[in-house]
């Protein structure tokens, strides 16, 4: 059949009008013939899927250190574009090493990422407290002053009423003092000691000044007999003028009847 183009167009026009008049909701009465199939170009073949990053090596050598020592991190990475290690190390190359000196046990995490994904690996450096330092070698020089030694260790020497000779307990204390003085004099060539003689309050001030001098002299003579150098020992009497206590009883009187050792100037 030969149709006139005019007739075909008119038919299409009429069909379209018919469709338009019929509304969009109406089912299409008849599907037009499909357009001619056009040969679409084949999409390019899909790229080969990217390799995932690969951490071949990530280690710490040594894995255990003592505080203050260092360890070396080594790594070897493939197929990654972004590589970094945390704990302040930062971005790294694919192959490398870095010396670290952590204060305490630390886990280092290597992150490698690329088009194929992201991988991580961690390694821990164990840090042990250092062993205690060895004790220092004994020093040849004393660490406390001679005057402090004297204050701490010298004993007062006590006397009977109106007496200046050393009774038994006084001799024991004086002997200990003599040993102390020998030690002090040996390590301190400048040190001198003063023996102060004192009395209780009962005698007169004038006589007591003499008695205090006797007590100090008596002790000095004892020290010299023990081998101490006389020129390093001075004496002074304070009589009853510098009492340790002022109660009117025998306990206080005895406390005052004494020789006391003091550091010389």
């Amino acid at each position: 059949m030969r149709m006139k183009m005019r007739t075909l167009s008119a038919a299409v026009f009429a069909a379209t009008l018919f469709l338009a008049a019929a509304g969009c909701k109406k089912k299409v009465a008849a599907a037009p013939p499909p357009p001619p199939v056009v040969e679409t170009p084949k999409p390019p073949p899909p790229e080969p899927k990217p390799q995932p990053p690969r951490i071949d090596t990530f280690a710490a050598e040594p894995a255990t250190i003592e505080r203050g020592q260092s360890s070396t991190l080594r790594w070897s990475i493939a197929s990654a574009t972004n590589m970094s290690i945390d704990q302040g190390v930062g971005a790294v190359q694919a192959n490398g090493s870095r010396q670290v000196t952590p204060n305490g046990s630390t886990t280092y995490t290597l992150t490698a990422s690329g088009a194929g994904g992201t991988v991580t690996r961690s390694v821990t450096v164990n840090v042990n407290a250092p062993p205690p330092p060895p004790p220092p070698a004994p020093k040849p020089v004393v660490t406390i002053s001679s005057a402090d030694m004297l204050t701490r260790e010298a004993q007062d020497i006590f006397f009977d009423y109106d007496m200046s000779d050393l009774r038994a307990d006084a001799q024991r204390a004086a002997t200990a003092n003599a040993e102390l003085l020998k030690r002090i004099f040996a390590q301190d060539s400048n040190f001198t000691v003063i023996i102060e003689g004192h009395c209780d309050e009962r005698g007169s001030a004038e006589y007591n000044l003499g008695l205090g001098d006797r007590r100090a002299t008596s002790l000095k003579e004892f020290y010299v007999q023990q081998g101490l150098p006389a020129e390093r020992i001075r004496t002074i009497s304070y009589g009853k003028e510098r009492p340790q206590c002022t109660d009117a009883n025998e306990a206080c009187y005895q406390r005052n009847r004494r020789d006391h050792m003091a550091a010389g100037q």
Binding site: S204, E206, Y207, G210, R214, T217, E221, E241, R242
Partner: protein, 451 residues
Amino acid sequence: MKTRNITVFLVATALVIAGTFELMGQVDIPGVIQNRDLPVIAVADMRGSGAAQQYMDAFNQTLWSELDNTGQLKLAPKTSYPLALPQQPSDFRPPDLFSEWTRPPVGANYLAFGYTAVQGDQILLYGYFFSLGQPTVQSAQILGNRYYGALSNDGAKKVAREFAADILKQLGIASLSGTRIYFVSDRTSKPNDAEIWSMDYDGSNQRQLTRYGTSSREPAVSADGKLFAFRTLASGPAWKIRVHTTDTIRNQVFSNPISTLIQTPEFTPDGKHLLFSEAIDGWPQLMIADIDGSEQHRISNGRFIEVSPRVNPKTGSDLLYISGRSGHQQLWRMNLDGTDREMLTSGEGDVANPSWSPDGHHIAFSWTRGYEPGNFNIFVMDIADRKYVQLTTNSGRNENPGWAPDGVHLVFSSKRGRATQIYTMLADGTHVQQLTTQGNNLQPVWAKGIE
């Protein structure tokens, strides 16, 4: 036989008891008048004419206290006096004459009176002193003098003192006016330190003499009152003697010996030497040296504590001192050359601080006899017969008696509470007066004043 033994025993016991009382008996201090014999003096308030009147309160008070402080006069109280007070000898008229003053309630033996006036720019005192037991004005007048002073309170006090001194001289009573007491005080010092001070005999005008800021003690004064010596730590950590002038406190040269101990300095009466105690071979011994410390000689000789040398002011050749020779501190006497050593006290208790009376007849010292150690009392002993008397009785710790230049007063220290203070008294233990109150005051010596 038995009866005779008992009789002998009883008589011996009676003698021993009597002997003990003899030792502790009455000691007559020459010049110390017993209470019942004190002369009674009336001291009439005086007035001044014109500008002199305003100073008469000071005048009258000074005249009264100068006479009263001697403790050797009984001053009749002013409230008992007649209303009309005499001003000049012509105020007395027969027949009554002095009867208003001699009869009760006044009962006076003597009368001091007069008046003051202005002459030029000075105060002029007309001072009269009458012995009232006389029949006429003329025979009664012992003193009728003029005295001049500045027209001021000080001038009025000066003429009062001069008049009082003349009155005392007439009565044979030494005046204390102008004498000074040197002593130790801690009132301005750090704990355990002390300085040398001085004051008038009645406690007024207390003055700090040394300012070393350390411990200075045991003052001694020369007989002429011009120098004082003491022991001190002022030169460093060892006791040394220093000598100063009393008026300007200027340091005098004294070469101390090298010793662990130097103490109790004392001038010889002629002022040319100084005695002291010095530790020699470990024992405090008595030394004498020139006034500048040169020519040192040892006087005592023994391994005992010997301190407080005191030279006899009358002889100048023997001395008292304290020694531990007998086992405790006791009073000894020996010649300056070390001979004729003797112990004056019994050996009991502790003795300290001897002091000679100006006439060398009596000594004063402190002693614990009869009491626990530390409880000292003042004793006076007649050096010739060794009789002694205890003047203080268990009131505090009484030490360092010092004889006054008038020969009848003593100064001493006493701890009667928490603090030690300085007192004066008559040498019979009466008329005790406290002179200090601040801090602790001790080791007094009584010296002549300097003009």
